[in-house]
Amino acid sequence: MAHVTHPANGSISVGIGNDSDSGIGIGKIVRSESHVRYTCQVFAQGEIAAPPEPADYAFGNFVRVPLRLSPARAATADVLMSPLLLQSDAIEVSPGMQSAIIPARPQLPSPVRGGGAGGGGLHTHWAIGLIYDTILVNPAFGTLGPRLSNDEQVALFSPDYLTERAVLVSILLLGTMALGNGGTVTQVSHGIPPLALDLGAEVSALDDTAIRAFHFFPDYGAPGGAHPYLHMGYLPHALALDHSLLPVAMLRTIERLERLFPENGALLSIVKRNFAWKMKVQTAG
């Protein structure tokens, strides 16, 4: 079931509407381990004007990656949503997918008009991900002998060597967001996005406003009805993946949401307690 609200209710404007102008660029997609797990190579010194600092790609940070979607496709089929969700009203739950189309005219199957948000070059559809692992790549590792040249000499005589050193971060896709005119969030979905990321797609950090928008939206299928409420629809599938750091990343996310949504402290504390018990007490016991 597609969930639609009136424009006045759910209109949230975030600062990610103008491509990569806002949001700190972190790196680019270089590899994938699965449909939802990607490796991003962090921009190195000299690669872009303002390379990211380690705090920008820290463990547990939220990132966004643009999705390649032509305006025509975006208008005819809502590929950001699960097809199941749109076909039948009888199916109220799509496994692993929780979504909302936020400000729109109710009858429209999809409010997202592709490039309508101010020009063909602008990205309006984003995959939202979470950094859950970091790997430092060093080709010189294991070469234990002393080097004859110092760093400046290396930079001067064999610059290739420097570019082979890299920081890789693992990203888990949590859902998608779509933006309308002026950077307004028009659609949010949690779960596995149907579209894959492109190699080389730029990964940017997500600021707190955008994180709030990604987590707080109305969902007509749920008890809150038209009222926006807190979502963590990606939690089950994130935990289902077998990676030792993912639960820790999720716990960090819960803690971050507790800070961002203090009014939902009681609700989050249930998930957090349950989670912490399983992760810490049961694991240690």
Partner: protein, 584 residues
Amino acid sequence: MAGEYTHPVGITKGPGETIHEYTFISRDEQRLLKNGEYVYYELEAPTPSPSPVRGRGEADETRPKRVLGRIQHRVPVQLYPDTFLSEPEVAPSQVAALVGYDQRASDLFELHVAIMGYYDSALGTFVNPWIPPSSGTPIYLADDALLAGVLSRKQSGANGSATIGSLLTRGEGHVPVVLDVKELVSTHLAIIASTGAGKSYLASVVIEELMRPTNRAAVLIIDPHGEYSTLQEIANHREFEEQSGAADGHSPRRRQRYQARARVYLHDQVKVRLNTLSLADLRYLLPGMTDKQHHYLGQAYDKLTKEKKGGVWSAEELKKAVIEVGQYKNDESGDDSGNSTVAALSWKIEERLGRNNFVFDESTHLGLREILQPGKCTVLQVDEVDERDQQVIVATLLRRIYRARMETERHKVQDGDEKYLPYPVFILIEEAHHFAPHDGDSISKGILKQALAEGRKFGMGIGLISQRPGKLDADVLSQCLTQCIMRIVNEVDQKSVATAVEGVGRDLLDNLPALSKGQAIVAGSAINTPVICRVRQRITPHGGESKDAPAEWLGYYGDEAQETRARDAAPLQRDNAPISIFKH
């Protein structure tokens, strides 16, 4: 609740724990599938008709057979984890929503159904298909009309029907629970409940039904607590009368109109003249006699009846006859060995038939046809009599009625005879465990057992009411083939009901402690299948209310009561005054 349900409420999962059970899965969003609710599936492949549920009963032969079943219990298939319930202010559905689960689809139940079978209108009974439904068979909720057509043998309002209430799981009055009065009277009734559960209320409802123009029964109530006197009100209600001549428009003469009557007799108004007692009656009433005593009594009885030639005689005269027989025997044998027998027999006669008894009299007599008449309900109040005398009253009455019915049916007596009782009767006995206790003997137990065992042949129906089935004789209870069981908390009583009552399923009996006041499990021969019934409102006022002790205590200190007491106490002081003056 709407009368018809055309959509399936669930889908069969598979067979249940026993061979006559199956399980089905339902979301049950409307919360219709209560415990005890009736559902059905269709035995054959459904016809292409878009609406599979129509009409009542199984009259249409072309329609697939609907196999009814009763929901025994429902088990939620999906429950929230305990940790979701850790914060009292946060609903678990909110936590589920947070992690992306839509609450509306979370309720899913596995329902266990006991198969009753499809109703065969020719046989008038449910026929078990002997095979559980296959997985995937749609399950429908039985609609009110279907249930009304098959649960009860009689339709509400028909001749010989007693509508005592309606099905508990449906709206009040939607599915009437109708007892078949013919079965009720011929195979007896038991009403069993803890005190305060409404057993005398239900009994009064049954009596009201029996007194309706559609039944016009001859009813006698043995009332040890004086709870049934309000039944006299039936003479003032239109429900118990028939409009004169209205049914027969072409008859110019007004027909004899029917009006039910009720009369309360106090224990001292029901007298039995001694000379109506047969020798067998006497022997029955004087239990524990030796052979010699039996012989002497027989001789004395013969002597007395010959002398009196059918005239009245008293207990004194019987005693005198016994003494004379004793004297004669002594003379015959030449010793005084008969004296002790005579003394013991005289003592027994005095004890049971002498001046202090409540039942027997040498002259006054209340005829059976005065007590028992079609359309008349007689309440015999024995509340001021001790238990032993109550047993004598009941034993004597039952014996007289039994013999009268037997001899009338066998054409041994004619109109005008004391024993002529030419119609079936129904006798309701309150506190039945007093009259047929399971431990110890009571004079009424034997005749009660006999009447229950053989009354069917002679049209003598018995209704037993008891709050202590554990104390009631098990044979007596098991002879009552229609049972109305209300709330029973005592475990001993529950067990005795479970063993004595074969017709009620174990699953229904498990509901006994959960029943509220005025709800009863009705089972047995007067109904097609056991049902849980909500007893209807009485037409006549109820007389069995508990005393409101706190209100009466408060009333004791009311202004008026205090003034009355002060006024009553005042003259005593005046009486004392002269004495004190005199002392001066």
